[in-house]
Assembly symmetry: C2
Homo-oligomer: 214 residues x 2
C-alpha cells in the first residue's frame, strides 16, 4: 500500500488519539493545533507532530489539524470503518461486563451472542444478547459470519476453547484468560491480563516508595 511501516509504539498510542479526537468532535471543536492537543493529552507537541506525521498531510502549518478528518483517518488505520461480528465465550461477570459496553458497537464491534458451559445460563439475555450452550459454538460461528471471539473464561478451559474457535475459522481472539494461547500466526490475539496489570501497579508503588526513601 506504499505506506511506510508504522512503529508499534505509535500504533499503541493511536487509540488514545482517537478517543481525544472523538471528545473534541463531540464538543464541537473543528480544528486543533499540536500545542493545544499537547496540553490536553499531556504529551509533548513534538511527539504529537511526529506521531501524526506518520500518516502524512494531516496538519497544516498555522491552521492546526482538522479534527474530523484526523479522527476518520485514524479510524481507518485502526480498521474501525469496518464491521466485525463478535461473540463472547463465558457469560460470568466479566463476559457480561463486556456485553454491556454499548460503545463497542459504535466502533463497529457487534456482539451477536454469548456462550457458556453452564446450561443454567442458556437463554439468559444481557442487553438483548443471548447466552447459548457451548455445543452450539461451531454452528453459530459458521452461520453468523463471526470474526472475533472474546475469551472471558478461566485459564483452565481457555486453550481447548481457543483451538475450537480457530478450527471453525475465527481469525481474532480477545483473550482475557490468564494464559498465552500460542495460536497459528494468522490468528490475531490481543491479551488483557488483569493480574499482570495489577502487578505493574504494584511495581509502580514499590519503586516510587524506594525512590522516596533514598
Amino acid at each position: 500500500m506504499g505506506e511506510k511501516e508504522i512503529s508499534k509504539a505509535v500504533i499503541k498510542r493511536l487509540p488514545r488519539y482517537y478517543r481525544y479526537l472523538g471528545e473534541l468532535m463531540d464538543s464541537g471543536v473543528e480544528r486543533i493545533s499540536s500545542g493545544e492537543l499537547s496540553k490536553r493529552m499531556h504529551v509533548t507537541a513534538s511527539q504529537i507532530r511526529q506521531d501524526l506525521n506518520n500518516f502524512g498531510g494531516f496538519g497544516q502549518q498555522g491552521y492546526g489539524y482538522n479534527v474530523q478528518y484526523l479522527y476518520e483517518e485514524i479510524g481507518k488505520i485502526l480498521g474501525l470503518d469496518k464491521r466485525h461480528n463478535m461473540i463472547i465465550i463465558g457469560a460470568g461477570n466479566l463476559g457480561q461486563a463486556i456485553a454491556n459496553y454499548e460503545n463497542f458497537e459504535t466502533r463497529g464491534f457487534i456482539t451477536k451472542a454469548m456462550f457458556d458451559k453452564n446450561p443454567e445460563l442458556s437463554g439468559m439475555k444481557v442487553r438483548g444478547i443471548e447466552v447459548h450452550g457451548m455445543d452450539e459454538l461451531e454452528d453459530y460461528i459458521v452461520s453468523n459470519d463471526i470474526h472475533i471471539a472474546a475469551l472471558a473464561i478461566p485459564k483452565a478451559g481457555a486453550i481447548v476453547v481457543a483451538q475450537r474457535l480457530v478450527n471453525c475459522g475465527i481469525k481474532a481472539i480477545w483473550n482475557f484468560a490468564h494464559t498465552d494461547l500460542n495460536l497459528p500466526k494468522d490468528v490475531m490475539v490481543e491479551n488483557v491480563h488483569l493480574s499482570e496489570s495489577l502487578m505493574r501497579l504494584s511495581y509502580k508503588i514499590n519503586s516510587y516508595e524506594q525512590e522516596h526513601r533514598k
Copy 2:
C-alpha cells in the same frame, strides 16, 4: 538503592516471567535453562538472558536458573512480597468480576470492600466482600489502611471519584474507566482501557488483511 535503572520494556515483561516461573514451580521444576524457558515463552533465549541479567546473578552458566529464587526475586521487584489492601469502586459486572479473582490475594492484593452509588446494592456480598454506599468511602479508607482503589465505574463519574480517593490519601488507582485521570505525580495509576485494547485487535486484523491482499 544502587540498582541500575531497569527499562520500562523489561518491567512490562516481568509479570509474564513471574507467571511462567510460578507455573514451573507448580509442576515441580527446580532449575531451567534460558533455552528451555525460551521455548516455553516464545521469546529468544538471548532476550531472556538480557532481561534477567538486569537483576544480577540469577543464572549460572551450565546450571540454568533456580526457578524458586528467580520467582521470589522478581516478586520482590514487583512488590508482591508486600500486602496491599484494596477496595473496588463500582459493584457492577466489572467490579464483581474483579472481586471474584481469588488469585489476586495470593499475590498480596486483599480486596476489603466494594462501593457503589446504587443504594440497592448496599450490603450485597461478592465472595464475602461487602458492598458499601459511596457516603462511607472516606471513613472506610482512613480506618482500614487502604492503599489501592480499583475504579470500575463509567467515565462520567470517574474524575470526581478519583479526586475523592486522592483527597483521603489513596496512592494507587487501578483505572478501568475510559478516561485519563490526570492526578498528582505521587499517585500511581495503571489504566485498563478495554476499548483501546479492542481497537488494537482491530488494527491487527486490518493490517494483516492488507498485508495479505498485496
